[in-house]
Structures are given as C-alpha cells and as structure tokens.
C-alpha cells in the first residue's frame, strides 16, 4: 500500500473553516458575541474612570456646598447633591476607584489563596485534599455577610489599637490613617468568602485534567512533570478560571456594596457605591436620585461583568471548538 492510498480524505468541513490560532479563535468568538462586547464597554469605562476619575470630576468628593444641599439634578450638579451638599456625580466617579480596588485586590488575594490550596489538593490528593475540601466546606457553610460582620466586629478594634501603638512607637504617619484598617478588613473578608470557590474550581480542573488522555500521552512520551504542568495542565485549566475571575470581579464589587450597606464596608471619607446606596435609601421617597445614581452604576457594572463572563465562557469552552 502506498502512502497516497492511505492518505485520509476525511478532513474537510469544520476543520477548513478555522485554521487560526486558538486564542485568536476564542477572541473572534468573543468579539462576535454582542452581549459580551456591550459588557466590555462599561467595564473599560469603569477602569478608565477609576484611574483618571479625580481629573474628570467637576467637584472634589469631599467638597461640601451648604447652599446646595440635596439639590435636584441640574446642569451644575448632574446627579444632584447629597445632604451635605456634595456632588453625587463626582462621588460616583470616585466610587469607581473603590469598586475597582476592591474587585481587583480581593479577587487577586482569593485567587492566589485558591490557586495554592486548590493545586495542593489536586496534585497531592489524600489527606491534603481532604483538609482543603473540609476548609472550603467550613468557610462556605457560614453566611457570607455574617462572616464579614463578625470579622469586622472582632478585628477592627484590636487592629486599630495596634495601628495606634505602631504610630506611637514609630511616629510614622502611615499608622494614623485608619482607613487602611477598613480596607484590610474589607479585602480580608472578601478574600475569605471568595477563596473556597476558586480553590474548588482549580482542584476540580486539576483532577479532571490530570486524568485526561493527553496528559497520559505526554507522560508516555517521557515529558518531565514540570513541563506537563506548564504546557498541558495549566493552559487547559485557564478557560474556566478566566470565566470565574470575570464573574468574581463583579461579584466582589456587589459584595463590598452589601458590606457598606450593613456598615462593615469601606467607611467614609472614601466614597463607596454601597455606602452611597445605603445613605440614599434613607431618603429615597423624597430624593430618589441619591439612590438611583450609585444603584444604576452598580447594576450596569454587575450585568456587564456577567455578560462578559458568559461571553468568555462561550469563547473558551472547548466543547464548542468542534472536532
């Protein structure tokens, strides 16, 4: 039998249509997803505002104008002013910073913790796996908001006392800024609530990919473990992780708002959308715009992240790659 005769001819159809790079392929898929593209626009805007917000705002976020307290939206104050005469629009722009910082930092922390715990559980198995799964179960069994309140109530006072001591000892002005205590507590609580999700996702990914045929095939070809991890396991675990992070960023922002609403979030003077919502709620019958501004922003961003996450899920889902 000659080579020509055994040349298969069954390679037309889906294969011909898409001879490009895999990531480009996924990107093209994402770009073709209308909801995902619509979702990207507010997210890009949010990051832009978070970086350049202070240069864009017509007023300082603390600037109080007692002559224009609780003013209705006008050309001067686009979204009106609050009860202290502060410009709501400016505060929303500043709030983008809080939202982005909270989203990025808490997601980063929980992702790192989740990656370490999840990988350990997935690779090592046995007792380590049982311990990690038990820890995630324990953490998840506690109501998230209750956990945040408990953390805030029990840790805030000692932490502030410690900061004061450090200030007295070092005379370093940094330790006088109690807003750091708030941030640390909020980030910590968010990370504590979110890491089990990432840990379980990564553990599951590793367990499933470790038993894939291509990993066995790579081992049968004598590839070293490190190379199998970096070339085979990790890239194949990325898809669901990217999707989870996208959704997690939005989720962290909403959660932070909920914290602020309950008074355990980022405290003034840094504007936070959650705090603005909870303040606005007291007067929503008479001054609904105080509530509407931050609430609408929050909703747009959350929906955008959800759409982007869905789009990423579709774009990165190997089952849709054909073949």
């Amino acid at each position: 039998m000659t080579t020509q005769e055994i040349t298969p001819t069954d390679d037309f159809g889906i294969a011909e249509a898409s001879r490009t790079n895999l990531w480009k392929d996924a990107f093209a898929r994402l770009a073709a997803n209308k909801l995902a593209v619509i979702g990207i626009i507010p997210i890009v805007l949010l990051f832009f505002i978070a970086i350049f917000g202070p240069y864009l705002t017509p007023y300082d976020f603390l600037a109080q104008d007692f002559t224009a307290r609780l003013a209705a939206p006008s050309s001067e104050h686009w979204l009106g002013t609050d009860e202290l005469g502060r410009d709501v629009f400016s505060r929303i722009l500043y709030g983008a910073r809080t939202a982005v910082a909270v989203g990025l930092v808490s997601t980063a922390i929980s992702l790192i913790v989740g990656l370490i715990m999840g990988s350990l559980a997935g690779y090592l198995g046995g007792r380590v796996d049982m311990l990690v799964v038990w820890l995630t179960d324990m953490t998840r069994s506690m109501p998230a908001l209750l956990l945040a309140i408990v953390i805030n109530l029990t840790l805030k006072v000692p932490l502030e006392a410690w900061m004061e001591q450090m200030y007295l000892a070092t005379k370093n002005g940094f330790f006088r800024q109690t807003m750091w205590v708030d941030l640390v507590l909020v980030f910590g609580a968010l990370a504590l609530i979110q890491w089990p999700g990432y840990a379980r996702l990564i553990r599951g990914q590793i367990l499933s990919i470790r038993s894939r045929n291509y990993v066995l095939a790579a081992r049968a070809l004598g590839m070293p473990t490190g190379r199998i991890l970096t070339r085979y396991v990790i890239p194949n675990a990325m898809g669901p992780l990217i999707v989870a992070v996208s959704a997690g960023l939005g989720g962290a922002m909403v959660l932070e708002s909920a914290f602020s609403f309950l008074g355990v979030g980022v405290q003034l003077p840094i504007p936070s959308w959650g705090k603005m919502i909870s303040d606005g709620l007291r007067m929503w019958q008479t001054h609904p715009y105080l509530l509407a501004g931050p609430a609408v922003m929050m909703a747009i961003i959350t929906v955008s992240f959800a759409w982007l996450g869905d789009g990423l899920n579709d774009a990165l889902n190997p089952r849709q790659w054909g073949g």
């Binding site: 039998m1 080579t3 055994i6 040349t7 298969p8 069954d10 390679d11 294969a15 898409s18 001879r19 895999l22 198995g125 038993s211 894939r212 045929n213 291509y214 066995l216 095939a217 790579a218 081992r219 049968a220 070809l221 004598g222 590839m223 070293p224 190379r227 070339r231 085979y232 890239p235 194949n236 190997p318 790659w321 054909g322 073949g323």
Partner: protein, 339 residues
Amino acid sequence: MSVLLDVQDLQTRFQVRKGYVYAVNGVSFQLDQGDTLAVVGESGCGKSVTMLSLVRLLPPAASIENGQVLLRGEDLLQLNLRQLRDVRGGEIGMIFQDPMTSLNPFINIGTQMAEPLIYHRGMSKSEALARSAELLGMVGIPDGEARLREYPHQFSGGMRQRVMIAMSMSCEPAVLIADEPTTALDVTIQAQIVELVKELRDRSGVAVIWITHDLSVVAGIADRVIVMYAGYIVEEAPVDALFEDPRHPYTVGLMGALPSLAGETGTRLTTIGGSPPDLVDLPDFCPFHPRCPYAIDRCRKENPMLEPVIDASDGGHRAACWVDIREVELEAGAAAGSV
C-alpha cells in the same frame, strides 16, 4: 532473533476501599526484535494495566507488587523516574485508544510533536519541527509543514491517531505499545491505521505490542498472540496455531463471537455468557470456570498454570486449562453457552 523485552511474573493490583483488586496476576511473556505480539481479551481483563505497568504509567491506586520487565536485560521496574522518562517515548512508544483526547488542545501539532524530539534527541526547535514535518509525511499526512501550525481540533480522529503514531515513533523506539488504537475509529480508518503500523514496523523494525479485543485485527498484524482473562494469560500461541487449534475455552468463545465470511448464512454468533470476575481475592480456582461449558470439578478447586499444550503444532503454544477441549464433545448450543 534476540529477546528484546522479557516480562517475568508481573503482578499489579489496585487498592480499593475494601482491600485489593488483583488486575495482573503473574504475567510473563517475551517479545523479540521486530516481532508483533497481540494481546486479546475482553474489557477489564488486565490488558491495558499490564502494558501501563511496563512503563509504570499506572494510576496512583495501582501498585506493581512483583515481577521484572527486562528491556535488553535492564529491569524497567528498578529505574528511577529520570531514567524511566528516557525509556518512555525514547525506547518504548505508546499509542492510546482515543485519539480525540490524546492531543493537547492548547498547543499546535508542531510544538507537540517537537517536544519529545527536543527532550529525547536533544534537537533544536527548528530541527525538531523539520523532522516532525517529515514524520507527518511518513504517517500519510501531506503538506506537513503547514499542518504543524494547526491545532488538534483541526484534525479528524483518524488524522489525530496518525499524529499520535508519528509522535510515538519519532524517537525510533524499540517497542511500540498500541493500546486498542483502532477501537474509537471508523472501520475504514481502522484498516488504514493497521496498514500504517504494519508499514512502519516493516520499515523501522520496531517490535509491536498490539492490545485489542478485535480478533480480526489480530489475524492481520500479529506474529504471536496472548489471550488474557482476569489478569492471567490463559493461552499463548503463534497466530496461526491459535486460530487453527485454540486450546482454551475462552479463546474458543472469543472466536465463536467472531463473524466469518466463510460460514453459512443464518448461523448465529455465539456469545460468552456473564462477564469477567472482579478479582478481590487471588482465586484458588480457574477464574473462567463460571462461564466455561467445559468446566469440571477440578476447575473449581485449582487454578491451572500456563503450560505447553499436548500435540502442539508449535512449541510456543501454551494454555492454562485442566481440560483437553479437543476430547470433549459438547451438546449442540452449549459451546460457550449461558452460565
């Protein structure tokens, strides 16, 4: 011909909740240079576990309890992981059942094919890619250089199996272990893959171990056949002797389940009733006796050893059975009948 691979008394078991499952129980066989050995048996008979044991690619629950795997006299079971990696892919190539999932979807074919060449042969990336393109041509994939830039999802099942074969053969191994490489493919593609392996074998002189449950494939490719049941070799013979003069009831049963072009139309294929046992204990009886139409009392009390058969047409013909099945007349329809 010299003995290339000599497997002695290999035993592998799996740890399960209640103890152990004995998957491979004292398997011994030899493979000569350039020889093709077929390993047949139902699913769950220990064929794949035996082959994975040779290069210690077992899942964590499995452990090799005993035996030697001598490749040119060197025991693979005693090697450290680094030495073992040189054997895997370098001396022993493997291809697997499901080509659809045997390639990493995230790396293009070229990079994937180049890796073993870079790792085992110390080639540069460009050398390895050039060699990979050649290899693709060798396994019947034209336009190799362009196809190296493509990803697995752009290849069909048959093409992927060709890529797998090219990869496993890339470092010119002495042994190619093919674990049911055609099971997941269309019949026409199956024949092409069998032809391809034969062609590569004849050209390179690689010794092939071909695991299958398809006896028609065995007849086409193998020199010798091992029939496995419940982790034991129950019959071993040159391929012609096995087909003409099978001596183990299980082999007879497998052949009865094979459709024949020469047979009369309208005849029914026989099946072997029941399924292989879960070996949670090493049996002190013949593991096939519950399904065996020839079973006698001794089969329930003693497990037969693999021994040379009487009146063998070939010296290498061995079987593990207490009964000389040629002397037993079965009632019509009872052959390999229900349990």
